[in-house]
Amino acid sequence: MVNPIMIFILFLGTAFLFALFDKIHRKFSFAILQLVLLINTFIAGQWLYKFVFTSQTPVMIFTAGFKPPFSINLRMGLEEAFILFAVNFVGLLSALYLSKSFKHSKVYPLVLYLMMIMGVNGIVMTRDLFNLFVFLEISSISTYALIALKENEQRLASGFKYMIASGLASVFFLLGTIFIYHITGTLNIDQIITHKSFVITSLGFLSVFTLMMSLIIELKPFPANGWALDVYQTTTSGVVSIIAVANSAGVFYAFYKLLPLIPHNQLLFIAGIGIVSFLFSNLIAIKQTDSRRLLGYSSIAQIGLLITVTALTRYLHVKSSTSLFIISSIFLSNFIAKAGLFWIAGIIKKTHIKEWAILRFKPGLLIIFGVFIFALVGIPPFPNFWAKWDLIRFLALSKLHIWIILILLGSLLEAFYLFRWFGSIVRSEQNEEQLLQPAYKTVPIIIFFLLLIIISIGIPIHIYQFDILPLLPIVGLLILSIFDFLPSKLKAIISMIIIAGYTLYIYPVLSGVSLVFAFIFLAGSFIQLIATMSRKGTDKGFFPLLVGMILSMGSLLVARSSLEFFFAWELMTITAYMLVLRGRKAEKPALLFILFSLAGAYLLLSGLSYAHVINFSLVGLGTIPISAHMLPITAFILIVVAFLIKVGAVGFHIWLPGSYAEAEDDTTSFMSSILSKTGIFGMLILLLFLLKMNMHHSALFTSMLGWIGIFTVFFGSLMAIFQEDVKYLLAYSSMGQLGYIVLCMAAMSHLGWVSGLYLAVNHLFFKAMILLAVAGVISRVGTRNMYEMGGLIKKMPYSFISVLIGIIALSGVPPLSGFGAKWLIYTALLEKGWYFRAGLSFFASAIAFLYLFRLIHTIFLGQPKPQHQNVKEASPFFLIPQFLFIFAIMAISMFPNLIIKPLSTFINPYFASTIQWQGNTLYSSLGYWNGNLVMYVTMGVFMLLLIWLIISIGRVQKVKQFNIVFAAERPFKPTTTHFAHNFYAHYKRALGTFVRPVTTGFWNGVGEWISSAAGSIRQIYSGNGQTYVLYILLYFIVLYFIMGGK
């Protein structure tokens, strides 16, 4: 093992001789610089390897031949090795990134660069308080100087502000150090910590406070951090990435080292400092348009989070390995992502975030950018995700509710601006511009990207002992990414094969209700994949995401623990988000989608954490004996709201119409007919737990849930009838239908669940059918506004048929399967005694009839438009799945027992059955229904009459358009003759009050409020360096009094 002191020797030896090396040639000196960083990375890596993979214990390195406290000693342990490795590695890469700047600069920047990295190394290793000060100064002073690299006015101004702020902080450090020395008589950190009882005296407290405040100010807490933002905004990319990650890492580690000095009861204040920084930085970032300043805010926020987490885990006495894992995961996510993003910023060379749109033409870089952003937000499998999981779990365990709320709130704000940025890039309409991507700049980015991926895969496997099963979605995604160059049709087939294979693979563990959902998720997807073959060209990116999403849904079914469930859930969310974002106008809807989904995911996360005893999954349901306290009421509510968001329950629905409608047309059908059911699946698991543990007040909760369900049905249907855009109409319709399912599940009875599952399956059939048909139509006519269509029945008869069957099935008109759903629902509701809900749902189903008629009428009936004269029938790829679904609907309409019987069997373990079969007649406690006979009677009557009509009429002439009775005049403009626009104007007059956008208004209000808050808070950053110094002092004073200084 190489003595870690060699790191310093190497750094200093080369730095001191650097001027001489440089006299030989810049290439030579630069190579030396690279070599030093490489060797040091290697040394640190070697230690890291030892600590991780062998039972190496931390070592102390003494200097000057004396033992501490007489001499300064260094420590090399797991934490140190980890940070040193990261810092030296990022130093190496950033040096590569800067190679061109270095080539043309004076010799000084190279030296300064080396010293900056060495400073951080020293900060991390030293165990002597004053030595820490020296190294802090080394790294700050070299930073001050490096800020002026490629000098311009703004860099100078920001550098100066940085110097006075940081200079003040170091004065505080010095003051604290000397008084601590005065009290304890030592400068050795470990000794000081063992004597830490001195902190209770007023002098002791003040000393420690001053010392810690110095470090905290160096960590740039809100609001005492204006100078840091200026530095982030202006400094050249290669340098700022080091400042943002390596320097911060060093200071953070110093803070971590000294944290034991803080008395236990004061730790929460420290955590508070962090959380304030986290929340407000993320809040203000919302208003930020300068890309680097935005990244700066994000960095500061992440450091704030780190401070919070460190203080909290310490406060909670979390096991050191666990807390280390949490902290290092958050650290690493930010470290890699932020460095990468700043590097990318240097390639883009644009300041405004909108101008980053040029990334759109560089798919590789865009993917990397996206991955970095996802890593920051904490999307699985990136490290932040795992950290968040463990962290929230601990907080929930210790009942630190407010911290959970604040942390998740801040994360949501962060997700908001990051995803907004991402979305605006993907969906911008900016033209392509030349973008130089020199290798020396891209290589570091790619290396970090790969590193991130490797770590992200490693964590679940090594730390959480994941086997391949929960990781299959990622595998699927990767496989399809490899084949992404193939034409769409081929990829669709590969996707189908993968899904089929996956289904076979998981089939043995499926049973009962999971079979039903497997059918919906996997078989449903399989069939709809046929429609995706209509895509032209290679259509990059679509299939990997789609397969990822589908397999994640499959993962939900076979999850064995809460973690696996949540993992799959988040994976599904993010892939769905990316799919939505592919829609042409999907920027805003996709943002809403991801925001609400993430909010839901965070609720789920906290809910699962509160109910940490249970394994929230179908499999987990049977594993342990369950008692009532395992699912606290808070957990129940949190989880249920999470799923309600997913199904788009009223109040949380505003994300739904836009994202369903603006996604690509075939994607919409996946989302609406399949993805939406995941919320139902989750709710089902939750209700099963509820059922098993006999929770107090559970009747009240399910009753509330029922009301939410029925209001979702009502408002969804009502809003659907006023839509002019066919996809919005169908989106609202989905919302309504999902509401029915929620209502049924909430009934908590055998019949209720049977009807819920029945409707879920049925909804898959008819909604997929209608949406695919509509997608086919849109693909031909090129518009989504229904009033711009009309009379298409003659051009697209097959699509018409499937829409017709679809709407009959949806509206519940006998004899098709939809009536079965209605019959089951009403019987269940009446049996349950939910009379008003039954009444309202009857009203809603009548309203559904309105929008369905409008759908079929305005598209297929009425007057055709002249521009659609040459429209052809939709592509067979759209038609094939539709007809498969028609077949399915016909089958279960004829023989409802085909589906109801198995469903009933699946539900039997949970509820006593209240239905029975006599032949083909289904008897409930209230009524009966013979689907078979209804079909025969109806068809019989219908056929008889049809034959009669054909016979009685004889030959008829098929007339042309406009050959209609029209008060002696012939209308000649189809546009005016086709009664389609604002179809239900009178209805709006009557019931318009119910569809006033109250919810949208509410959420808009929330958004505006947040935005204006951000706008006014950021005014504190006046740009004046002196004001920033004043803030630092105020911050110092206020905190002193808050923390109860005596």
């Binding site: 008109v813 039954a838 009857f842 009839f849 009425g862 009459l945 086709h978 019931l991």
Partner: protein, 304 residues
């Protein structure tokens, strides 16, 4: 099923024939009464039969397309189906129809079948008036379905069953056992809904002869119209039979059926002649307010 299928079909045909004749006659009678009220002599009560025979006799020359063609078929199949799923006379094998297929929910939803077909047929004709009429009709339908459904829910609460035969059975014995008396609020609500269903004044804006010639059926003629006229008789009667079963103690023989359906129909007629026409939004608001509240009250009383 005790009765063999062939026999069952035969019985149903008989039952259907009877109800068709009665339904059409009822229409004639009502027109007569209208005329008398307005001081005219009016057509004879068999006028509907004549009309139907006449329209059948006309040449059916034009079709606008397949749905246009199927529309009337849907419509009358809906009417016939609705009737066939209701047991018309208690205890009668002939008039029990195909009520074994389903309960009152089936009947309620089967009503939509005809509506939908009609709407589709009218839609394909491409005539704007048809579309306007359909929009109005459907909108109004959603509104009157609410009190109707609520009063049926009230009945279900009352009798703990969805089975029409059982409901009728429960009302036997005394006139006081009728739902009309045991649950007057529900009955009133349902009767108001019936006004809308029959599209008589004040809820006749769907057909609005002056504004949008005759609404949805504008483009239909010849055999199409004949089918629809027939349906008007059957469907009308079917609804009345349903009401009779649910609220008026059902019928144990054909005469009771005739008397009761006539009386129920008269109620709507009387109201019809004495009110002006509502606009669609007015009628929607009306249905969702007065009768809905009444029906809700009925349910609340029952639950308590």
């Amino acid at each position: 099923m005790d009765t063999p299928l062939v026999l069952k079909i035969l019985y149903s045909l008989i039952s259907l024939a009877v109800i068709t004749i009665w339904g059409l006659s009822l229409g004639g009678i009502v027109r007569k009464i209208y005329a008398r009220v307005q001081g005219r002599i009016g057509p004879p009560f068999w006028q509907p039969f004549i009309d139907i025979i006449k329209t059948y006799g006309k040449r059916t020359a034009v079709t606008h397309g397949i749905m246009f063609f199927l529309g009337p078929v849907f419509r009358i199949a809906g009417g016939i189906g609705t009737y066939l799923f209701i047991p018309a006379i208690l205890g009668s094998t002939i008039f029990s129809n195909f009520s074994v297929s389903g309960d009152v929910l089936l009947v309620m939803y089967f009503i939509f079948f005809g509506q939908l077909g009609m709407a589709l047929g009218a839609g394909e004709s491409g005539h704007p008036y048809s579309a306007i009429g359909v929009a109005r009709g459907l909108a109004q339908m959603t509104a009157f379905e609410v009190p109707f459904a609520l009063s049926i829910i009230a009945i279900v609460i009352q009798y703990h069953t969805l089975n029409i035969t059982t409901i009728v059975l429960a009302q036997q014995g005394s006139i006081l056992n009728w739902t009309l008396f045991t649950n007057p609020l529900a009955t009133i609500a349902a009767l108001i809904a019936l006004l809308g269903m029959n599209m008589h004044n004040p809820f006749s804006v769907v057909l609005a002869p002056q504004e949008i010639p005759i609404g949805p059926p504008t483009e239909f003629h010849g055999s199409y119209l004949a089918l629809m006229q027939t349906n008007r008789g059957i469907f009308n009667a079917a609804k009345l039979v349903l009401y009779m079963n649910l609220f008026f103690g059902g019928a144990t023989n054909i005469f009771a059926l005739i008397i009761k359906t006539f009386s129920i129909y008269m109620i709507s007629v009387v109201v019809g002649v004495s009110f002006p026409r509502f606009r669609t939004d007015q009628s929607i608001k009306f249905f969702l307010f007065v009768p809905t509240l009444i029906a809700l009250l009925a349910i609340i009383i029952l639950v308590l």
